[in-house]
């Protein structure tokens, strides 16, 4: 059997340069991109493990799904797209160029008569006159054309318009290649190769940058990079960090950057208005340092490296706290802290470390209950971690100023045990002077055995009548009530009720207890105020609410997880500015490609290619008109109809004279 076999290379070439393959690649690229947006990319690995579990984490990691756009398989798809488009351009360009240039003068009359858009028009003039007229007409319509006398005496005019459209194809598709090339220049391919061949390795330890070994450093001559640098005010550095998967690389810079000042401006609403860093660049090659200001949307470029303002954080602010030891009964005492540093608390088994993690001067929160109010600045807060001797830590977030919640002011402190949890908030009511001391004094009084006895006896005394044994019994139960609350808050109270009161009467008993508890607390509050030489609090709704809120807060303190309350009193701000430093040689190519792409697309869509053939047949006194386009659209129908109309008129008026 005889079979004409196409060589394999030819078939591969045809496949790669085919439309089918290109469209499949576009689809594949789309799907791959979707994956990368659904699964959060480049999170710390710990987050994935917590969220998906070890098994899925490892699977995702192996498949490169945690950093899709830099994974090998994604690059391979891109590479195929480049190859396919390149081959497509190579394969089609010659055709396009030919179409661009040619007039197609060799069509036969027979094939013209088979065109979908053709018409035969009558003419009775000499061929030369008709030809001249048609030539005028075509030029006026901006057609380019060629005329040829044929052997049988007929004249064929072949005209074309808008064939630049064909260049649009070349521009558009070459643009894709150029853009991808630029992208590859800026990609991390060189590092990937060096990593695979074992020359480079990412660093995962948390060590000072100068201790990072050579294999995890990128030289200042690195062709392209995108690195980050965090500088506290007043400090300088000549390296930046490139984050890779769960580690980083140190990028050396050919100059040193110092941060002189970092500023945030705010709108009256408290929203940030601008972030600005004043930097100084020093370089041995410079006779004097460059001073520049970097803002969002206004980077500074030096030696081909663009320095962007990207974020900011605390750079070691000094914090002054009043520390309340809730287990003891003494007043708060002063404690200092520095953000990003640690301190020690307590002794022996109760020894704790406190880590001052963060300080934020502005916090824009929406505190309205239904979430419909306006967010506004609620003032500074600080985040700290308390770690006990066995290493367990809880995280706390404390607001410096009382927050207005439901129209009342509270000192708010959030607590959580792990990073994944939401904070649970403790709300301590501010007293009539907007201080926390009212609550602290009340609490101490309510927890002091001697005061408890005193309160009970005062209240019992005020009981009407003079039944002494009854009063004594009442005093006794008041003491018990306070002691129970001191021991374990509301839940302890309800335990007592459950054990002592039949079910049917529990609700009522609970209400009575709570009422009595409020009464004792009110008494305690007045006592504590007297001790602090303050006038008694008025017996009004505001005081009642304060008492109730205080009891609730005392109850919540049982779940607060630490006997320490850090009340932020004052601070000296020291900020750190986050910069992004990039060198991207591919940018030029990407922009060049983009310009080509836009030109090409507009050429393809909005330059309409038209080809017209007019065959003048003097013998039959006929003119044959045919029109075609590479796009079979309604426009073609309309253009043809218009031209047929015009030519009919033209040839008729010719007949008339």
């Amino acid at each position: 059997m005889l079979k004409v076999s196409v060589p394999l290379s030819q078939r591969v070439y045809e496949l790669l340069s085919s439309m089918r393959f290109a469209v499949s690649l576009l689809t594949l690229l789309g799907i791959a991109s979707i994956i990368g947006t659904v699964l959060k990319q480049n999170e710390p690995y710990q987050n994935y493990i917590v969220k998906f579990g070890q098994f899925w984490f490892e699977l995702f990691e192996t498949l490169g799904l945690l950093d899709v756009y830099h994974s090998a398989w994604f690059l391979v798809i891109l590479l195929f797209l480049v190859i396919s488009t390149t081959l497509c351009v190579i394969r089609n360009s010659p055709v396009m160029l030919k179409e661009w240039k040619t007039y197609k003068e060799h069509v036969t009359e027979k094939s013209l008569r088979l065109f979908s858009h053709q018409a035969s028009l009558a003419v009775n003039q000499p061929a030369a006159a008709t030809q001249a007229r048609l030539a005028d007409f075509l030029s006026a319509e901006r057609y380019m054309f060629k005329s040829r006398q044929q052997d049988n005496g007929d004249v064929l005019i072949s005209a074309k318009l808008g064939t630049h459209q064909r260049l649009g194809y070349i521009f558009t598709h070459a643009a894709i290649v150029v853009i991808c090339f630029g992208g590859l220049l800026d990609g991390n391919l060189p590092f990937k190769v060096q990593e695979l061949s074992g020359i480079k390795k990412i660093e995962t330890r948390d060590i000072p940058s100068r201790k990072v070994p050579e294999e995890s450093r990128l030289g200042a001559n690195n062709l392209s990079f995108r690195a980050n640098m965090t500088l506290p005010e007043g400090e300088r550095d000549n390296v930046a960090f490139v984050r890779v998967r769960d580690g980083y690389l140190v990028q050396e810079l050919p100059f040193t950057v110092a941060l002189r000042d970092f500023r945030i401006e705010h709108y009256p609403t408290g929203m940030p208005k601008s972030f600005e860093s004043d930097i100084t660049i020093t370089d041995p090659e410079l006779s004097k340092p460059i001073e520049a200001t970097v803002r969002v949307n206004h980077p500074y470029i030096y030696k081909g490296i663009a320095i962007y303002q990207s974020d900011f954080q605390d750079g070691g602010s000094q914090l002054k706290f009043k520390l309340w030891d809730l287990s003891g009964s003494q007043d708060g005492f002063d404690v200092d802290g520095v953000v990003m540093q640690k301190g020690a608390l307590g002794e022996g088994d109760h020894k704790m470390t406190v880590e001052f993690n963060e300080f934020r001067q502005f916090n824009i929160l929406n505190l309205s209950i239904d979430g419909k109010g306006k967010p506004h600045n609620v003032g500074p807060n600080t985040t700290l971690k308390l770690r006990n001797a066995s290493g367990q830590a809880r995280e706390y977030i404390n607001y410096m100023q009382p927050l207005q919640l439901d129209g009342r002011a509270y000192f708010v402190s959030g607590m959580r045990e792990t990073v994944q949890e939401e904070f649970k908030y403790l709300r301590i009511p501010a007293d009539d002077e907007m201080e926390i001391t009212g609550f602290m004094a009340l609490r101490q009084t309510l927890r002091n055995d001697q005061s408890i006895r005193q309160i009970a006896s005062e209240i019992a005394k005020q009981m009407p009548g003079d039944n002494a044994p009854l009063k004594a019994q009442f005093e006794q139960s008041l003491q018990q009530l306070m002691q129970t609350f001191k021991r374990g808050g509301y839940s302890e109270l309800s335990k007592i009720i459950e054990s002592a009161v039949p079910e049917a009467q529990r609700d009522q008993a609970a209400q009575t207890y709570l009422k009595l508890l409020n009464t004792t607390a009110m008494q305690a509050y007045q006592m504590s105020r007297a001790q602090r030489h303050l006038p008694p609090a008025p017996q009004d709704q505001a005081t009642a609410v304060f008492i109730q809120d205080s009891l609730n807060a005392m109850n919540d303190l049982f779940f607060y997880g630490t006997p320490y309350y850090f009340q932020l009193k004052d601070y000296t701000l020291k900020q750190a500015s986050g910069f992004q430093l990039t060198r991207s040689p591919g940018q030029f190519w990407v922009y060049l490609g983009s310009v080509m792409l836009v030109l090409g697309i507009f050429a393809m869509f909005y330059i309409r290619e038209r080809r017209v053939w007019i065959l003048i047949k003097p013998v039959r006194q006929e003119v044959l008109l045919a029109m075609s386009s590479n796009r079979k659209n309604m426009d073609l129908d309309q253009d043809f109809a218009r031209m047929q109309q015009q030519l009919t008129t033209l040839l008729q008026t010719g007949q008339a004279d």
Binding site: G30, T37, Y308, S310, S584, I601, D635
Partner: protein, 381 residues
């Protein structure tokens, strides 16, 4: 056509311009110069370029399509009246009758909403009555809605400066504002095709997607109070916004329009309303033209976005979810165009594809803000 008239040479473009056309252009230029003199202090060199670029673009558009010229003049007159009535004091917005009920941005946008709803109902009525007159009324309503929408945006622009000079900015910076822009651009695109194809039968369809946006605006206004003017976060304070966002919405608008036409196509295919709607090949052609325009402008928008990102975030492409979804939308329509032009594919498959394309586009526009977080998270719901 007058068959006895001899064929005449086509006039050059400049010769076709009438006295009105010139007057219009001169007015625009005067407006541009006036704005420049008054507000140059707020503009950087690029924005001055955009200002005079806009004079050029709108002159040209007005010359080619007199509807635009009338719209521009109408918007200018009403906005100036609105601005003047404020007398430089925001409080007048709730005191002056004219502002309170007609020209403050809030009221103008509400008029836009109401008129778009009416326009849709009227288009459908016209379709069922087969009444040319009713359809004309629907067209007029759509134009008027568009007029009020633009007035709303222009006045809002001014209002933002009245709040405080440093808060002032062009009103295309958050979801509320761009939804208005979406309605307006989609309506204009539709009106353009209505004229080009000389058919008013598709209005009911296209206005469905516009009214979906109107519904969103209403919900966003009444439930979320999103209509309040907010200052710009630092990342958005850039001249790029003024070109990137409109280009994007020409893209979104065209794709939505194409999807609605695709819906009409599918109905006709199944012989529903077939006698009342344009022929299949007309719908097909319209769908192609809309997607072509959309693709061209979406390409530009994506490129502008990349250039902006290069300036704001330190890289022209970060695979941020919004960027990535823009790429997905773009790839989707690139595939669509290839199949239509190269494979000569037509009809039902492409119509379904254009409809599904709207889902993809909507996700890129809204879904990303709602479900995915990233650098673009300025317009969260």
């Amino acid at each position: 056509m007058n068959t006895s008239a001899p064929w005449s040479k086509p006039a050059s473009f400049w010769q076709t311009l009438s006295a009105f056309d010139w007057l219009y252009a001169v007015l625009l230029l005067a407006g541009g110069i006036f704005s420049y003199q008054r507000y140059a202090g707020y503009m950087d060199i690029y924005e001055v370029g955009f200002l005079f670029g806009a004079v050029g673009v709108f002159s040209y558009l007005g010359w080619r399509w007199s509807g635009i010229a009338r719209l521009v003049l109408g918007v200018a007159v009403l906005s100036l009246i609105g601005v003047y009535t404020y007398h430089g004091d925001l409080a007048n917005g709730s005191q002056s009758f004219l502002l309170k009920f007609l020209l403050s941005s809030q009221s103008a946008v509400m008029w836009m909403n109401v008129l778009f709803v009416l326009a849709m109902l009227t288009y459908w009525l016209a379709l069922f009555q087969k009444s040319a007159f009713t359809a004309k009324v629907a067209t007029a309503l759509t134009w008027t809605a568009t007029l009020f929408g633009f007035v709303g945006l222009m006045v809002r622009w001014y209002e933002s400066y009245l709040i405080a000079p440093d808060i002032g900015h062009i009103p295309i910076s958050n979801l509320y504002e761009v939804f208005i822009l979406f309605c307006l651009i989609t309506a204009l695109l539709y009106l353009h095709y209505e004229q080009l194809f000389n058919t008013r039968q598709l209005g009911g369809f296209v206005l469905v997607v516009i009214n979906a946006a109107v519904g969103f605006i209403l919900w966003y206004t009444f439930d979320r109070h999103a209509n309040e003017i907010q200052p710009l976060v630092p990342a958005l304070q850039s001249y790029w916004m003024k070109i990137h966002v409109p280009a994007n919405f020409i893209g979104y608008g065209s794709f939505s329009l194409a999807a609605m036409v695709a819906g009409a196509y599918l109905l006709v295919r199944h012989n529903i309303l077939a006698s009342r709607l344009p022929a299949l090949h007309v719908l097909d052609d319209l769908m192609y033209k809309a997607i072509a325009i959309g693709f061209a402008f979406f390409t530009i928008a994506t490129i502008l976005g990349a250039m902006w990102a290069a300036e704001a975030w330190g890289g022209y492409w970060s695979w941020d979810p919004k960027e990535t979804w823009a790429l997905i939308v773009w790839l989707n329509y690139a595939a669509w165009l290839h199949l239509r032009l190269m494979k000569g594919l037509r009809g039902t498959v492409l119509a379904w594809w254009a409809l599904v394309g709207l889902l993809v586009t909507t996700f890129a526009f809204l879904g990303v803000n709602m479900f995915l977080s990233g650098l673009h998270s300025y317009g969260t719901l």
